[in-house]
């Protein structure tokens, strides 16, 4: 039996990788992917804990997180397409009208 702490470390590690990627990469698609990685890292932690504790709440929350992430990415890509039509760029550094 793999101990729970291993799953939690895996989840935390993936979360940190996602966070780092989000902060470093400037391409919006990559930033959306790294957000997805962060959310799925949380899902691993939730589901592993849920299994070890024999409690359903974690798995239920994981389903909500998946639905929320899917909706978020759908809206993110829709906004990106609208922005791309006006600007021809998916690079965050070129979104520089608003500053100060």
């Amino acid at each position: 039996m793999i101990p729970l702490s291993w799953y939690l470390m895996l989840g935390a590690g993936l979360f940190v990788i996602g966070m780092f990627t989000f902060l470093v990469r400037r391409n919006i698609i990559m930033m959306l992917i790294s957000l997805e990685l962060m959310l799925n890292a949380v899902n691993i932690m939730l589901i592993a804990t849920s299994h070890y504790m024999q409690d359903m709440r974690g798995q239920i929350l994981a389903f909500f997180v998946m639905a929320g992430a899917a909706a978020g990415v759908a809206i993110g890509l829709a906004i990106l397409i609208a922005a791309f039509r006006n600007r021809e760029s998916a690079n965050m550094d070129e979104f520089d009208l608003l500053k100060g």
Binding site: L35, M45, F64, G68, I79, M92, G100
Partner: protein
């Protein structure tokens, strides 16, 4: 089934939203659909106070706290619809979508106010945030609106992911996601666990993003400036109030016994937010952006009430939010009425051209500064008193000092309105709806300032 009765306001608003969504196929009039939305908000507000109790094994709670916030959300929704009817940026053919998104965001906010479980909190937060992202990018052809929505979505989702990390940590520790279970765990000696510290930090950072506290405020000025002005008015009040409702319940009710653990982090947030918001607002030329920073600073004052960690502190925050809703909506309505209202030049000589509008703006600006008899004074006083009672005297002194700094940029705009001559004739919207919204908000800002007992909670 009887538990569903507690959710009547939410269910009614959802059904009305679906109804308006369908009738949008036949009715294309912005005013008509707006009236239907206002009616839905009115019915929901009427149903809110009668619901009381807990449902779904304590996951959902309807009490005086949540009722107050729900009424506040319905008020925000009502004013946001008035702004949409009077504004030309919200085009007639997109009216249905606009109102439905406003209502969806309001439903999400209502669930956040009633959440007694982190799962409900997350679902409500997602529903609110996703709707507001779309609203921010509502002017599809505008590059500013696109950019604002993109930045808001990326940083907002980032904050949600951090919140989920915190929730997962809480779940690992307590084996439950209920706020009552968290409170029990903390009270029985769990507050020294370092993992709990990580969970608390993640939750505070995530809510710091949602209420736009410095240093997690960077999305706010961009999103507020780029969004269409009616949306800015809505999102500077509604989502902020909802985030405070949930933040207050999680911190004060859930982690109340671990006050000594979270107080240092929140103290840092308060100092940075009050200082950063006011100082950055000083150097803004764009009026809309200035008010974005001003709303960051106001989140700092309200955070002071949360920091008190007492029921009196949260009551002060609620009073503050109610007054803040009127004054901030009022400011953005005036901005919407003026052509080029984002530019400082639009306000030059306003007192001569539009005495009524300038008078209302004067009331809002005095209120935001915290000068009696305007309502903002009462709000600030309540929050500061609660913080002093909780022993945060030094922080209150800091907040008062920066509140004086804020007078500089608010009163500079008053100076522009009353002292400067207008260079050219800036036209002003003739919309009766907007004028009604301005008069209504100005009236309430004064009324709550003169008779504060109307809104004092507790």
């Amino acid at each position: 089934m009887s538990e569903l009765r507690l959710l009547t306001p939410e269910i009614v608003l959802t059904v009305c939203m679906l109804g308006i969504f369908l009738s949008g196929l036949a009715i294309r009039s912005k005013g008509m659909l707006g009236l239907m939305t206002i009616a839905a908000a009115g019915v929901t507000a009427y149903l809110v106070p009668s619901a009381s109790g807990t449902a779904f094994e304590g996951m959902f709670v309807a009490d005086a706290y949540s009722s107050f916030f729900k009424l506040l959300f319905m008020l925000t929704l009502f004013l946001a619809v008035l702004l949409a009817i009077g504004s030309r940026t919200i085009r007639e053919e997109y009216a249905t979508e606009y109102y439905c998104l406003l209502m969806l965001a309001s439903i999400g906010m209502m669930f956040m106010a009633s959440a007694n479980d982190l799962i409900i909190l997350y679902v409500g937060l997602e529903l609110m945030s996703l709707s507001v992202y779309v609203l921010t990018g509502f002017q599809r052809e505008s590059r500013w609106s696109n950019e604002a929505a993109m930045k808001y979505l990326l940083l907002g989702t980032f904050a949600t992911a951090i919140l989920l990390f915190g929730i997962a940590m809480v779940y690992v520790l307590t084996g439950s996601t209920s706020i009552a279970a968290v409170a029990l765990y903390v009270m029985t000696g769990g507050n020294t666990d370092p993992v709990l510290g990580i969970a608390l930090l993640a939750i505070i950072i995530a809510f710091g993003f949602k209420i736009a506290a410095v240093p997690f405020h960077m999305w706010a000025p961009d999103a507020y400036q780029g969004a269409p002005t009616p949306v800015t008015a809505f999102m500077s009040v509604g989502p902020k109030a909802a985030a405070f409702a949930a933040f207050g319940r999680v911190l004060v009710e859930g982690f109340g016994a671990a006050w000594a653990e979270w107080a240092p982090a929140v103290t840092i947030l308060v100092v940075l937010t009050v200082a950063g918001g006011n100082l950055l607002a000083l150097r803004q030329d764009n009026v809309k952006r200035m008010f974005a920073y001003s709303s960051v600073a106001h989140a700092g004052y309200m955070l002071l009430g949360v920091l008190a960690g007492t029921i009196a502190g949260m009551q002060a925050v609620m009073t503050y939010l109610a007054i803040y809703a009127f004054m901030n909506m009022g400011v953005f309505t005036v901005m919407l009425m003026l052509e080029n209202g984002e530019e400082r030049s639009a306000y030059a000589g306003l007192a001569k051209r539009q005495p009524l509008l300038a008078g209302a703006m004067l009331i809002f600006l005095f209120s935001l500064t915290g000068i009696p008899p305007a309502g903002g004074f009462v709000g600030k006083l309540q929050v500061f008193l609660a913080a002093v009672d909780a022993g945060q005297t030094v922080l209150v002194v800091v907040a008062v000092i920066f509140s004086v700094v804020s007078a500089f940029y608010y009163l500079r705009l008053v100076g522009t309105m009353f002292m400067r001559e207008s260079e050219d004739s800036v036209s002003c919207s003739a919309s009766k709806t907007l004028l009604f919204a301005v008069i209504l908000t100005a009236f309430f800002v004064l009324l709550l300032g003169i008779f504060p007992s109307l809104v004092l909670v507790g």
